[in-house]
Point group: D2
Chain length 256, copies 4
């Protein structure tokens, strides 16, 4: 029997406490709504963590056993401690999966792993979003047809300041006239990263079946299958080397 995939849903959990509209949509926080639909998948073991917990709920012990981390943040990216970002990044590069949602495009962890601005156009005006599936053979797009629609969402528009994705899965059409690469993957180190655009806090997006399906699929796809610590080893030769009469002159300074 296969062991379950350990998932942590990380939520900033601030909008829900300040904005009654958001609280009405997500009474226990967006992270709990996401965790709840993931728990319907018996292959997953799902926990949560939030910004205002000690160490943002992302202790070494928690991360050590996490296979996939889901990240939603927006108004408080700056409050995430740099040391915790480094800890998460290290785990991703060792092999943990990372699913970044919506406004997480500006999360420190996402920008740090991608290395670019991650900027975009935006508008809060209840555009209809139609998300086209452009890679129907990918594990993340299974069960999604040619497209699905979100009745009202914040608009994100191109250009999106990301490195070219390793796989481009979804492109969104918006009523107001924009397009966006709304589902994309990157392989970084030994980990897999999936960015999925939908999920502005003032809309019931995470209650929608297709959105839940994509996120659930992405957890399976991103699950850690290896854990490879970083090393930079001095490696002896595997084949005979030429004589090196000047070896004694070599620098002993600045070795890695």
């Amino acid at each position: 029997m296969t062991s379950p995939i350990n998932v942590i849903v990380w939520g900033e959990y601030r909008h829900e406490k300040r904005n009654p509209k958001v609280a009405e949509l997500y009474p226990d926080g967006m992270h709990e709504t996401i965790a709840a639909f993931l728990r319907k998948d018996t292959a997953l073991s799902v926990g949560t963590a939030t910004l205002d917990e000690p160490e943002h709920g992302l202790t070494e012990a928690v991360l050590k056993k996490t296979d996939v981390l889901i990240w939603w943040g927006h108004m408080a990216h700056g409050d995430v401690q740099d040391a915790i970002v480094e800890r998460v990044k290290k785990r991703v590069l060792e092999g943990m999966g990372l699913v970044v949602l919506h406004s997480g495009h500006y999360a420190k962890i996402f920008k740090s792993l991608l290395g670019t601005t991650c900027s975009l156009k935006w508008r809060e005006a209840s555009d209809k979003e139609r998300i086209w599936n452009i890679l129907p053979s990918h594990p993340i797009t299974q069960g999604i047809g040619d497209y699905f629609e979100i009745p009202a969402e914040e608009m994100y528009g191109e250009p999106f300041g990301i490195p070219a994705p390793d796989e481009l899965l979804f492109i969104s059409w918006f009523t107001g006239g924009e397009v966006f690469r709304s589902g994309a993957t990157w392989y970084r180190g030994n980990g897999r990263i999936f960015y999925f655009r939908p999920g502005h806090e003032t809309y019931p997006t995470y209650h929608q079946a297709e959105v839940q399906k994509v996120i659930t699929n992405s957890v399976h796809w991103a699950r850690a299958t290896v854990r490879i610590p970083d090393t930079c080893p001095n490696s002896p030769a595997l084949e005979p080397l030429p004589d090196d009469p000047e070896a004694h002159l070599r620098s002993k300074i600045g070795h890695k």
Copy 2:
């Protein structure tokens, strides 16, 4: 008449002052050797900068007019100030080219732009390195035949902890039995990045014609052609939107 390409060769310039072997090979510093061969190309206007200058020689004014920055560092990566790294990164993402040499694989600026460990295997044992040209149509490989050899170099071996390159130009064969992706490019933001492996400080690598040819080519390839500042604009709709009866309920917190 075309304006010249403004190049800054940045050198850590520490090994040269401490290790007589290095000083003998590069009496004015490695950066001056590199600048000297670049100056033979009349299309280039070449300056230098070093770690121990104020702001590491990389002031806002200098970077503003720089089209390509070449980076060599090794023993003192940690002494480069984070604020200067951010400044350089911002310029690369706006459009400046960046050529990272040898041990610069561990430079803060390289790791920050790529987002991965950038680790590798290494050995200082005077392996012969044969550098194979696997992309003979690329601007950077012009004038290089099927391969060229460096008689003695530090070995770098795979796996190399980088994101998959956008273009893989060179693969090295080492006497001791290893291989390495020794020339690769990444497009990040509006800038172009080239990593080129050779150049350990205790060898006369930067005096070798083929190495000089590759670096010179790379400067032409990486030159800035645009300067696009980062923005994340609120964008009005280009097409009629559906009515939004709940607009007044929208969050006013946490806007970008």
Copy 3:
């Protein structure tokens, strides 16, 4: 002084003879309209070729001196001789640039170089097309702002049956609700390929300034800089080999 870039604009040139609407828009054929705007660029030397010429106008002599071939075909893809397709493909792989327009997505030469179905959704209903520039630093997108619009065009929609582009430059938004990767590049062999979506024969698309700008830019980008014939050489060892006592037993059958 730099020698000019030799461009051949290949047109199927059949719609123009059968459909009065098309003839009105392109009285001398679409290829002549395209050639005419390219000729305003003094760096280019522009000729044309059409399906019903001997060897479709693409003799060995013509191709030998061509740096970039532009291809527009639609109703008569099947009439293009396989031998000519192979000849063009050989030249692209040696280094010639290829710009494929609109319905050329189903041209034999495009399908043969990409290896996939190149299928898509389509609709002739005068959608407005808004073409978003998602790679503003690329040579092909220079002089194009964030986007431009074509007032009426045939719709092409995703999924588009192509290999992941090496560079994705444009994504189109259509009134009817679809999106499309409408500008993309592939590096194949030593040649560069650019696909550009707009240009249905019943619209004045090739008279529009932005479309002309993109095609002109693409010719500069795709120009041949090398000509490397295909070889598969038996190569002597560069380093001493181990003894091979069984060498005489080796197969002499089936060598390349």
Copy 4:
């Protein structure tokens, strides 16, 4: 319970009948040796097919139920019928996996899917080959350490005339001084392609455990998970379109 992965090992099966050395190594043909080790994996259901069977053993009925096709050919690529190549290609683009071995780099099916020359350097001189694992997190490289060695093999050297791989898994070091991208994947249509270099007919390569491990892993990775037939549909609009007063003038010629 999961249904088995249906695998067909296709062998040219000619060298084995003509060259006693090859027959000694592979008495029932190379395809049977490969099939035999795959059959140890109870998740796989393995059959074989060879060139001299009717339709090369690749009837519509066989392909319809095949999840992964493994291909080894060398001296008789030209004897493979074009119609069968098209049939296999169609199945790959629908979703079937394809694993191409060694001299299969020049098989019609491989060249047709990749679109390039697929040429390389070669030498039959019993080089030692050391295969470096450069993507240790990939499903195909699991159970393989940093590298493994093949005591004697034909050399294949760069440049290899392929499109940039979607994933580069292995790079080979050869005694004689060359390097080669010896394990690479491409996603084409809905199918997955893996090329694996080792396996010259005069060496016992397919009896080696590491080689068997890689091929077995690749079958799991490449297995068909979808079957999506090619279509190019005329698609009605999903959103209201502008009036089209000239609709009656539209071309009725040349529709797809």
